[in-house]
Amino acid sequence: MSRWFRRSQKDGSLLALPTVAWLLVFFVLPLVIVLVVSLMSRGRGGVAQMPLTLQHYERTFGIFSIILWRSIGLAGLTTVVCLLVGYPLAFFISTRRRPIVQQIALFLVILPFWTNFLIRTYAWRILLGDEGTINGVLRALGVISEPLQLLNTQFAVLVGLVYGFLPFMVLPIFASVERFNFRYVDAAQDLGANETRTFLRVVLPLTMPGVLAGCALVFIPSVGAFVTPDLLGGTKGLMIGNLINNQFGGSGNMPLGSALSIVMMGVVMLSLLVYVFGNRRQTGA
């Protein structure tokens, strides 16, 4: 015993032990329990009981597949919109000449982020509601006579997700644009490449690590979003996160919620794999 103690003290693993134990108990074990529960039957009050079954996975890929695909679709669309808005914005910020202007431009992206996520999402309820600001302004201008339904739609969820996660796209791209040497652009153009070609063959590949990191950082929390669709989506914008949440109430179904959760984690792991693979190919090339 004391020899083991002394050895683990020497190689540093004793120092790692408490944290590893904590993470095993409170992170790994709970995930294992979720996996087990997802394979069990639904008992009274929605709790798990024997025997083992695959029915929750059947339902996840059966009647709930529409919500699964909607979540993936909305998260994908959020990523694309964030990329289209965030990429030029990151370039705009990093090409400011005066450092103070650049700092302010960056600060203006980060500052809204310091506000609690719930409040930032709630702000869109004010804007998008039937009696909200956008409908009020449009009506005052005489553009519409009846309020548009903006809130409780998939559109509202998309807007909310883009709003919530846009800085996650801008910051990594900004970091890689900062490292980008703009002389390469001159070089490419001296060698006869036109603007499109210069962008596609020089600028984009060299800023790709930032793009990939940004896409992963936006896509992953979007797929698992719960607050945004809950506050902005209504029933039309229901996402898999809400479906999981609904399984943990009085009339819930814990094994089903666990199965949904495992499938969502699968989607996240898959997108992480794509990220790692893409990154490796990028740096290898």
């Binding site: 808005v85 309820r125 009020g136």
Partner: protein, 298 residues
């Protein structure tokens, strides 16, 4: 002019038009993006000063919603009470402080072990530390909720004692998601540190304990403080995981605010949101200023 030249001319004109449109788009992009980022916040603040309850048009300036909050006179239909909110805020501070202390200790230890230790399985450990950061909050939330339920059922079965979720479950959950963030920040600091300083200390006869407290710790302290501040901020801000692991009477501020926001849009809620925005901006501003001081002093 030949037909071919005309077509070329047309194509060139179209190309030029597309190019001009693209340039215009690039010029407008920052304007649109900044408007998009700031409009919701400005609208929220604006309508917290609106005379009428509507959020469709601004009718006049008033401070009455703020005085309503201070004097605790809010409409009967609202779930709000100043006392409940302050109580929730106290709960948040309590949970945040304890969770931060534990997570900072555990995170710093693992960061040191990863940077200085020589033991097998470090890559696996890397993955284990990375996962809590990337896994969706809701997955972590429900896995902890189920875990606590199973654990409490077992405790009941074995000892007859009934345990309920409360501060302890929230704190354990917050420590779990905070460890990785602290470890990341401290490891970055350790990577910047010159390892020869530690060697010099032990060459001069300091034992590992003295080396750590006299050399290593003072050098990584700014990183440890930054990690702790990050953990505290994340803890104060967390809604999803707290929502699933809290019990009766242990409502934190975000969980309380969620209850308000979910119900209605009222001017008082706008006022509360404005106050909270101001507070969190102030808090982060102060912590950043402190951090800046810490790095410039080294």
């Amino acid at each position: 002019m030949s037909a071919q030249a005309l077509i070329n001319e047309n194509a060139l004109g179209r190309n030029r038009r597309i190019k001009r449109l693209g340039k215009l788009g690039l010029l407008l992009n920052p304007l649109v993006a900044y408007f998009f980022l700031w409009a919701p916040i400005l609208v929220l603040v604006l309508f917290s000063f609106n005379q009428s309850k509507s959020v469709a048009s601004f009718t006049g300036f008033t401070l009455k919603w703020y005085s309503n909050i201070l004097n605790n006179v809010v409409g009967a239909e609202s779930a709000f009470s100043t006392e409940l909110m302050l109580n929730a805020f106290r709960n948040s501070l309590f949970v945040g402080t304890i969770a931060t202390a534990i997570a900072t200790a555990l995170g710093t230890m693992i960061a040191l072990a990863m940077a200085r230790g020589r033991f097998p399985g470090k890559r696996l450990l890397d993955g284990l530390l990375f996962l809590p950061v990337v896994i969706p909050e809701i997955t972590q939330a429900i896995s902890l909720a189920i875990f606590f339920k199973v654990a409490f059922d077992w405790i009941h079965l074995l000892s007859g004692e009934r345990v309920f979720p409360g501060f302890h479950t929230i704190i354990m959950a917050h420590v779990t998601f905070n460890i990785s963030y602290v470890a990341i920040v401290v490891r970055a600091r350790l990577a910047d540190m010159d390892p020869t300083l530690e060697e010099a200390a032990s060459d001069l006869g300091a034992n590992p304990w003295q080396t750590f407290w006299r050399v290593t710790f003072p050098l990584i302290l700014p990183g440890v403080i930054a990690g702790a501040l990050l953990a505290f901020t994340l803890s104060l801000d967390d809604f999803v995981i707290t929502f699933f692991t809290s019990g009766v009477g242990t409502t934190t501020l975000p969980v309380f605010v969620y209850g308000l926001l979910k119900l209605t849009v009222t001017p008082e809620v706008n006022a509360i949101s404005t106050i909270m925005m101001l507070l969190s901006t102030l808090l982060i501003g102060i912590s950043l200023a402190l951090q800046g001081r810490g790095t410039s002093q080294r």
